[in-house]
């Protein structure tokens, strides 16, 4: 059951400047572990609530790849029992218990909720169990945003992390792309082609209010929020070719951070304020890093002839990206501490990676649908969406 690890060999690199320190190792993890995880039984919740809470919890835990719900009647180290019945001050009283090997109680909680909060409560229970058993923060209560299209319309959709409860917060007759969550989870920046030209728009998720942030001639693309939520980096080509800009949202004055004849695009911020972006200044698209105010760029990627669309883990240690080799596109990850470069997916048309807020999973599009892979490549996860989905972004834990 161990992952298949292929060493692609050590590659001594001719590096520039102060990056001449690493001999990156390429490891391909092409197979995950299936059917493994901590065994748990989850009894059906009695009480007649309109949602199958036990079913939602089982699906949430199954999806983590680290906890394995067992069929009813089987033996397991851990067991969950619960009830959801009319009562309490808001409509439903939901109780659940998590017990260990000899029936020792580990969790015993109750929630007083209105009927429309039964699904969120089920996700909350999943996260409480997951955190108790693994020590990691769970993702069941988080959300994703993605773009769907069909029949001449484009949709910006916000859904729960299990793909359920989709909400179309923007519908357009022109393309929408590159959604990006603000660090507090309250806003989405995106590119909209309404009026048949690209603009960067910031939309308040809860009020629906929109604000045009950039509508310069040429490309207005790839918005990315600074960690403090007060600045946006993006791409403009108003001066002839695509360059990286940073905009202070309060003062509205964009500052240009790159300058050259190459394509510079897809900026993302690291926690220290520096910016990683895609550039073809070396002849093929690769990732580079500049300081908060621009300046000399350091090349970060050297594997293959195409590394683009960086995304940064919440702790700033890992950069996931789109990686091409042999004509196929993969999701790969670079560890900025060890310089290790790993390919995580089996490849094809993989694109648009985005880290989950716990840094453990990466959601992406494989060209047909949304899927996710764990940072170690072991866990794969599919999203049960209606229809197509692309450009996925995992929401932060939020307020």
């Amino acid at each position: 059951m161990r992952p298949v690890i292929k060493l692609f060999g050590l590659m001594a690199l001719l590096l520039v400047g102060r990056f001449a320190l690493a001999q990156p190792l390429t490891i391909d993890i092409t197979k995950g572990i299936e059917g493994s995880g901590i065994p748990i039984t989850i009894a059906s919740f009695g009480g007649g609530a309109p949602e199958d809470i036990a079913g939602i919890v089982a699906a949430d835990l199954q999806r983590t790849g680290k906890i394995a719900p067992q069929p009813a009647g089987s033996q397991a180290d851990y067991s969950v029992t619960g009830q959801a019945q009319p009562g309490g001050s808001r409509g439903y009283l939901v109780r659940f218990q998590l017990a260990g090997a000899q029936g020792a109680p580990l969790l015993n909680l109750s929630f007083d909720v209105p009927p429309n909060q039964l699904r969120p409560v089920a996700h909350r229970i999943s996260d409480l169990i997951y955190e108790k058993l693994t020590g990691e923060k769970g993702l069941a209560g988080t959300r994703i945003a993605y773009i769907a299209s069909g029949g001449g319309s484009w949709y910006l959709v916000v859904a729960d992390a299990d793909g359920q409860n989709p909400r179309v917060i923007l519908r357009s007759s022109q393309p929408i792309m590159s959604p990006a969550w603000s660090p507090d989870g309250g806003k989405l920046a995106y590119v909209s082609f309404e009026g048949r030209r690209p603009q960067i728009i910031v939309q308040d998720v809860y009020s629906g209010a929109r604000r045009v942030v950039s509508a310069a001639p040429g490309i207005n693309g790839a918005p990315s929020w600074a960690p403090n939520g007060q600045r946006l980096a993006f791409t403009l080509s108003k001066d002839g070719n695509p360059e990286i800009y940073a905009l202070d949202l309060a003062t509205q004055s964009p500052i240009r951070l790159t300058n050259g004849s190459a394509i510079d695009t897809e900026p993302v911020w690291l926690p220290d304020g520096s910016i990683v972006f895609t550039s073809d200044r070396g002849g093929s698209p690769q990732l580079y890093r500049i300081g908060p105010g621009g300046g000399a760029a350091q090349r970060l990627t050297f594997e293959g002839d195409y590394n683009a669309r960086p995304t940064v883990s919440p702790d700033g240690r890992h950069i996931a990206m789109v990686h091409r080799r042999g004509g196929r596109f993969y999701i790969a990850v670079l560890d900025l501490q060890t310089r290790q470069f790993r390919v995580l997916t089996s490849g094809g048309l993989d694109e648009s990676p985005s880290f989950a807020p716990n840094g453990k999973m990466i959601i992406y599009s494989n060209g047909q649908r949304l899927t996710a892979v764990s940072l170690d490549g072991r866990v794969k996860q599919d999203f049960a969406l209606r229809g197509n989905g692309r450009d996925p972004v995992w929401a932060p834990y939020g307020r």
């Binding site: 179309v168 917060i169 048949r196 929109r210 195409y306 209606r386």
Partner: protein, 199 residues
């Protein structure tokens, strides 16, 4: 052909639905106009005949059309190239320049297309054209926006070289967002790597 007709019917039906919706469905629109914060601009959401409607999360519809434009039909039906219903309408072949993989070099066989359109532009200085750059679906979406713009710029330069005024040319890149052909075949990809000359 059947596919094209089916797509056109689907597009027409959706346009009808959208038409109905925009009268009864102004909740989101008015909400956004009423609840804007001090920094929000009103222009975009208030345009008549607007393209986009936003909704507050709590009132956002859960239904959306999922007519698959990503090649699902091709996956089950072999290599047939399927036309995509494009809201922009079909551009005739004498206004399209096709490109090689990863290339923004104008093929020699497309010079005639550029010359003919350049003549039309130099013949009437009041005509303005929009050059729309496109790529196939492979690779990063935003990087493809940049590649599509590079293709449109190559056509722009070629037109300017034959005497067209830069003021008569506008550029927009859609990257891989508006494919001309669905499906994941080399044939579809070749049809999608293009610049459309739109008047």
């Amino acid at each position: 052909m059947q596919n094209i007709i089916r797509n056109l019917i689907a597009a027409a039906a959706l346009a009808l639905m959208a038409g109905c919706a925009s009268t009864g469905d102004t909740t989101g629109e008015e909400q956004t106009a009423d609840q804007q914060d001090a920094t929000a601009e009103q222009g975009i959401t208030a345009q008549p005949g607007q393209d986009a409607y936003s909704y507050p999360y709590g009132q956002a519809p859960s239904q959306y059309d999922t007519f698959d434009t990503t090649g699902g039909a091709t996956a089950s039906g072999g290599q047939a190239v399927q036309a995509v219903a494009s809201s922009g309408g079909a551009v005739s072949a004498d206004r399209i320049i096709y490109f090689g993989f990863d290339s923004s070099e104008i093929p020699s066989e497309s010079q005639a297309v550029i010359s003919a359109n350049a003549r039309a532009l130099t013949g009437n200085a009041r005509i303005v054209t929009q050059l729309e750059g496109h790529t196939d679906e492979r690779g990063s979406r935003e990087y493809n926006i940049a590649l599509g713009e590079r293709r449109a710029n190559a056509v722009r330069q070629a037109m300017i070289a034959t005497g067209v005024s830069p003021q008569q040319i506008r550029i927009v890149s859609y990257g891989e967002e508006r494919p001309a052909a669905a499906g994941q075949s080399e044939q579809s990809y070749a049809l999608n790597r293009r610049v459309e000359i739109v008047y």
